[in-house]
């Protein structure tokens, strides 16, 4: 252990068996680091099953605030004999392998170039606890205790966290403390500590919070005033609705009566879920659903109806690795093309791309405004990494004076003033027409909603000219939308390079890190993070003002780049794809090496 100390900069991976209670111990570990004011970022790598298979929890600690996944694991904590062979291999040379040495390590797991830290976790816990469940559970807490010593985590931080966690069940705290100490004491007695890789308190977090994106979406929908919610369970989107349900039941119950100012229905499938959303929005309630790839596929027909009949709808698609069932517990950004043009015929949908839980909150809230203002589906594309992993981010923010933007709706008073109501009449010349809610007025404002073609007064027609007028108006609405959707985020006041880089969603973390690193190496890239589709003039301008633009995405087929080619008439050679699609979150290394390839080629062409 002669390495020079490295403070607040390592990756540690916990190798567990799912269903054994390791999740809360691992979270305790991460939260403690957060509480010490140090940027930290965990990734849960779990199997598509319920119990008994290998599961990993990877935590990156970064003084610099780099929150992307990073290759090269410094420390592995392995309590799963099932995956041990591979776990040993996964440690970087010079790294640490912490394991349960109650049983002796197999000879073949011994590597010369890494450090082994054996702790008899099973033995310690079997001796310290009598209940079998506790013996199993507290092994996890014990290794956290061991790490507290090895990595210098402040013990009182754990005490605080446990006190909060077990509020109301205080008698559980001493057991946990005991387990922490089991591990901690064993290290103190048997090893040199702390490790050269270790932690030191900082003040780098500020008022930031640590939360997952799905929870943020759920809370965002509560604040946006969603009242009718229908969904069908599917990983990794389920927890969006769970969060919505949890916060609704806290914040939307009438105290006296226990009645709910919300209706949440578990649908029989995704077709029904989006159907209910469409029915509710048609009837004037804000309504949304959440799903993942297979569900999105099933919603195609209804999304086309909502586009053509012009009904608001909010859909949160938490993307996972496709195609088909694919890898349901791995991340990807591969529903972009499907979401953008879902359904047969000429259809286009608004997309929003949050990159942090904070943005999940903000954009979810905004999606309802956009859907109602534009009277069309809005699809929020997040992903498993954002949705199910905890992220450190800005706190949520709400202005009490904020009003819901309900779009162009005519009420009884308005109708009284109108000669003849034309549901699809482009009065304002922006492609957006006025609607009424059912039940508004005895004799004015009723109309027929349909997926078939109709004229400006919502009367069924098969007249080609009327059909074409309507389709052109929808295109005009699309143009209007370009100025209404959230603007891209630019990382520079003025462009300074002939190279640009474009990314969206969770690629943000790796890209920001990569840009920073390249910057330090003297390679300058202008950067733009997209928040929405369709693309506004600003997006055109950014691309136009660079010679070469990298487009970073987490899918195989360069789907966002495809949208750019289709919608913006960009010379394709200008857009160089950086693609990551193995289901693991993107790393900065990957971005840098892909950028390097192009720059090297350019250099070599110069020579």
């Amino acid at each position: 252990m002669t390495e020079t100390p490295k403070i607040n900069d390592f990756v540690i991976r916990f190798a567990n068996v799912n269903g054994t209670g390791s999740a809360s111990a691992n979270f305790l570990f991460t939260k403690a680091i957060y509480r010490m004011g140090i940027p930290v970022s965990p990734k849960n790598i779990f199997p598509s099953n319920i119990q008994g298979l290998p599961t990993w929890y990877e935590v990156r600690v970064s003084e610099k605030g780099y929150l992307a996944r990073r290759d090269g694991i410094d420390i592995v904590v392995c309590v799963n004999p099932q995956s041990m062979a591979n776990d040993v291999k996964s440690v970087r040379s010079g790294g640490y392998f912490l394991y349960d040495n109650t049983k002796m390590l197999y000879q073949q797991f011994i590597r010369e170039d890494i450090h082994y830290i054996g702790i008899p976790l099973t033995k310690l816990c079997n001796e310290a606890f009598t209940d079998a469940r506790q013996q199993q559970l507290f092994k996890n807490i014990a290794y956290v205790g061991a790490l507290s010593v090895l990595l210098s985590i402040e013990f009182n931080v754990f005490e605080d966290l446990l006190a909060e966690q077990f509020k109301g069940k205080e008698k559980l705290i001493p057991f946990n403390i005991k387990a922490l100490n089991l591990g901690a004491d064993y290290i103190k007695e048997n090893y040199n500590y702390p490790l050269p890789l270790r932690l030191e308190r900082r003040n780098l977090i500020g008022n930031k919070i640590m939360v997952d994106g799905n929870t943020a979406c759920g809370i965002g929908a509560v604040y946006a005033g969603a009242t009718v919610v229908s969904w069908y369970p599917i990983t990794p989107s389920t927890s969006v609705i769970e969060a919505f349900e949890e916060y609704s039941s806290k914040l939307r119950k009438v105290k006296e009566s226990g009645e709910n100012k919300v209706a949440i229905v578990q649908a029989e499938d995704e077709l029904a879920a989006i159907g209910m959303v469409i029915g509710a929005n048609w009837n004037g309630a804000r309504s949304f659903t959440a799903t993942s790839g297979p569900g999105l596929s099933l919603m195609n027909e209804f999304l086309g109806l909502a586009y053509f009949a012009e009904i608001p709808a909010v859909l949160i698609d938490v993307q996972r690795t496709g195609p088909s069932t694919g890898m349901p517990t791995r991340t990807q950004q591969s529903d972009v093309l499907e979401a953008a043009y879902a359904s047969h015929g000429d259809t286009k949908h608004i997309l929003l791309f949050p990159s942090t839980p904070t943005e999940c909150f903000d954009l979810t809230a905004e999606s309802f405004d956009l859907a109602e203002q534009l009277q069309t589906p809005v699809i929020l594309l997040t992903d498993l990494d954002l949705g199910m992993n905890d992220h450190i981010c800005e706190p949520f923010n709400w202005d009490n004076s904020r009003k819901f933007k309900r779009g162009k709706v005519l009420h009884a008073e308005d109708l009284e003033k109108i000669e003849r109501f034309g549901r699809y009449l482009d009065v304002d010349n922006d492609g957006i027409t006025y609607r009424t809610y059912p039940g508004t007025h005895p004799t004015k404002g009723s109309y027929f909603t349909r997926g078939t073609s109709r004229d400006e007064y919502a009367v069924y027609t098969e007249d080609g000219a009327a059909y074409e007028r309507n389709m052109r108006r929808l295109s005009k609405k699309w143009e209007t939308a370009k100025n209404m959707v959230p603007a891209p985020h630019f990382y520079q006041k003025e462009n300074k390079s002939k190279f640009g880089i474009i990314f969206f969603g969770t690629s943000r973390y790796a890209c920001e890190e990569a840009i920073d690193i390249m910057n330090n190496q003297g390679v300058m890239l202008d950067a733009m993070r997209l928040l929405s589709f369709p693309f506004s003039q600003q997006v055109h301008d950014f691309i136009n003002s660079h010679e070469q633009v990298f487009v970073v995405e987490q899918n195989r087929d360069a789907q966002l780049r495809s949208l750019m080619l289709i919608e913006m008439n960009i010379v394709p050679q200008k857009l160089v794809s950086i693609l990551n699609f193995d289901g693991m979150p993107l790393t900065a290394e990957k971005v840098i090496s892909e950028v390097d390839k192009v720059l090297k080629k350019e250099l070599s062409q110069l020579n």
Partner: protein
């Protein structure tokens, strides 16, 4: 269809309690085939709403796709209508109903729309006890796509093209009963005197009210050999009882023979008066209703009338315990927690 609406209206048409004449309840002119059973059902809806003194704009009419699903255009032109996608009306109606519990929801569907592509949604609408009137216009075929057998076509029924259906029929009424529907009725488009009171009772029912109406397709399934033709149905109808719907506090207009008559009271004091009851059938026993259907089926008869009613029903809003105000009327103040609440949420993530 006739494409010119007769302009002449009798000037002294009777007005209902709201002051509306019956033509106020009509819709656009039908584009269905002349004689299509579906048009009679639309007319029955018009009549029932008129007689029940319903404000048309407090009705929402929903449907899927098919000739039957076109009917909402042909009644209540002052109601909002929604002609959605094939087989998925139940989900759209569910969302609509959740948004506003105060409207009356008519779901108009076909046997293709509900028994084939829409089977899943139909089953689950029943299960959720969504408050609505759900009418299947059952012609045993796909009218709009030119007459293919549907899943309710009887085994052995001969189509216009001459083919013999070889699959067992799905009995929508029996299915609804098995699935726990609390209002199940069956009728025939040719029998207005039965259909109108059934629709009225369905409107008044506080949950999912299902009416399976045999509604002959004159163009594709009205031939000899078809078990959904006018002639066949007329000959094989077996009514559980004749039926009168009596609104709350209305006076009893008829007196019935005690022995064969029964009164089924609804939640608000209105009641359904049944007379000439089938033997051994109790409209308030699900089991008895199921047995009656099955026995009629074995006799090759179509049991019509009210089959089962449980007025103690609890609809989806009750199950979800929603507030009494329609959800679509709640605004920022009602719905949006404060910035302060958000701060304490933020704190919980620190």
């Amino acid at each position: 269809m006739t494409y010119l609406r007769p302009k002449f209206r009798h000037p002294e048409l009777e007005k209902n309690k709201l002051g509306y004449t019956i033509n106020y309840y009509e819709g656009a002119l039908s584009t269905l085939c002349a004689g299509c059973g579906h048009d009679s059902i639309s007319a029955a809806v018009v009549q029932a709403c008129y007689e029940m003194n319903i404000e048309p704009h407090r009705v929402a009419k929903l449907s899927g796709i098919g000739c039957s699903s076109k009917t909402p255009t042909y009644f209540l032109s002052n109601s909002h209508g929604f002609n959605s996608v094939h087989g998925r009306m139940p989900s759209v109606a569910t969302g609509a109903n959740l948004a506003n519990k105060e409207l009356i929801y008519f779901g108009m569907s076909g046997d293709g729309d509900s028994a084939s592509i829409g089977m899943g949604q139909f089953v689950h609408a029943v299960r959720r006890n969504l408050r609505m009137i759900y009418i299947v216009m059952n012609n045993g075929c796909y009218g709009l796509t030119k007459g293919q057998d549907s899943a309710t076509a009887d085994k052995g029924s001969i189509s216009k093209a001459g083919s013999n259906n070889r699959f067992e029929a799905i009995d929508m009424a029996a299915l609804a009963l098995e699935l726990g529907a609390d209002f199940v009725a069956q009728s025939f488009s040719g029998d207005k005197t039965q259909l109108i009171p059934l629709i009225k009772a369905a409107i008044n029912h506080k949950g999912f009210a299902f009416i399976n109406v045999i509604s002959p397709c004159v163009t594709f399934n009205n031939n000899v050999g078809s078990t959904k033709s006018y002639d066949y149905v007329r000959q094989h109808v077996d009514a559980t009882a004749t039926i009168d719907y009596v609104p709350p506090a209305a006076e009893i207009r008829t007196s019935y023979n005690e022995g064969s008559s029964k009164r089924v009271t609804m939640h608000d004091g209105s009641y359904i008066q049944l007379h000439k009851l089938e033997n051994s059938w109790d409209p308030q026993s699900r089991q008895s209703a199921m047995n009656a259907i099955h026995e009629a089926r074995n006799r090759n008869e179509i049991l019509t009338g009210l089959l089962y009613l449980n007025s103690q029903t609890e609809d989806l809003h009750h199950t979800l315990n929603t507030v009494s105000q329609p959800l679509n009327t709640l605004n920022e103040t009602d719905l949006c927690p404060s910035a302060e609440a958000l701060n304490s949420i933020n704190n919980s993530f620190r």
